[in-house]
Amino acid sequence: MMNNEKDLIERVKLGHTASFSKLVRKHQKSLLRLAMRITNDLQSAEDIVQESFIKAFKKLDSFEGRSSFKSWMYRIVINTAKNKLRKHKKDHLDIAKVQISTSPIAENSLSFHVFKEVLQKEIQKLPPRQKMALILRVFEELSFKEIADIMACPYDTAKANYRHALMKLRHQFNERKELKTWEDFDQNFNVSQLTFMEN
């Protein structure tokens, strides 16, 4: 952990509340992205981040710095998101809501759009721990050691959760008709091409 951050935490612990805003500023973006990936909904993601920072502030005395502040916050966000999702067990994705574009590149765009929505839905349906391992590995690009730390589980368990998630998704890829086209997508495409396709 950077000394600077350690100092900030110590200052907050001593009662200097304003220092906490620096921690918020430093981590809110990555935490919002993480919450967004878990909930698939921006408003819920913001609520989760807000709630998580408040929890972190209240429990800051118990933070001993054995893991990084970032890992600690990730853990709080994940738990907060899990609780929230449990409370409002509704599906944010609805394939019927996919907008049908009429632009000349609509067909490509639509098929990928549908593909994307269905895949996101399948990710949301994964068992919680598998979903977390997948999000932390694929989107957050964390090492399995970091993932194990955040998920508070052994290294091999983190890896096994990730493997199961991928295997399950691959099964869905082969089962669901909207995902069956996956082998047709060119592996070399990149995000900029997709952004173009979606415009």
């Binding site: 809110q28 973006k29 408040i54 593909f115 994307k116 890896k159």
Partner: protein, 111 residues
Amino acid sequence: MEKENNLIPEEDWWIDYLEGEIERKKKQTMDLLLKYSITDRKILNNFSKMKTLIQITDPAEKFTQELINPKRLKKLENKIMKAINSITKKESRMSKKKKLFSCLPQKQGPI
């Protein structure tokens, strides 16, 4: 034979291979398979392609602009800090009350 000693790759080994998490002994076998077996090459390619597709469907991507919008972030920061300040004020009021009550003589019961 135990699974660990069997060097015929299971499907999930390819995931470990892709993630750079495969044991050295297994890796040697798998490198050979990749060289000569079209089927195994296809399995690995499929996992790799699938991972790329998952990455590209990142739900955070569709809100990239909002997630980096300084006004939105500032608003969120203010909301968080407002909540935290109200907690601090409440706690400080509570501790003042406690101090005040601790100065008062304790009730001994009905006189």
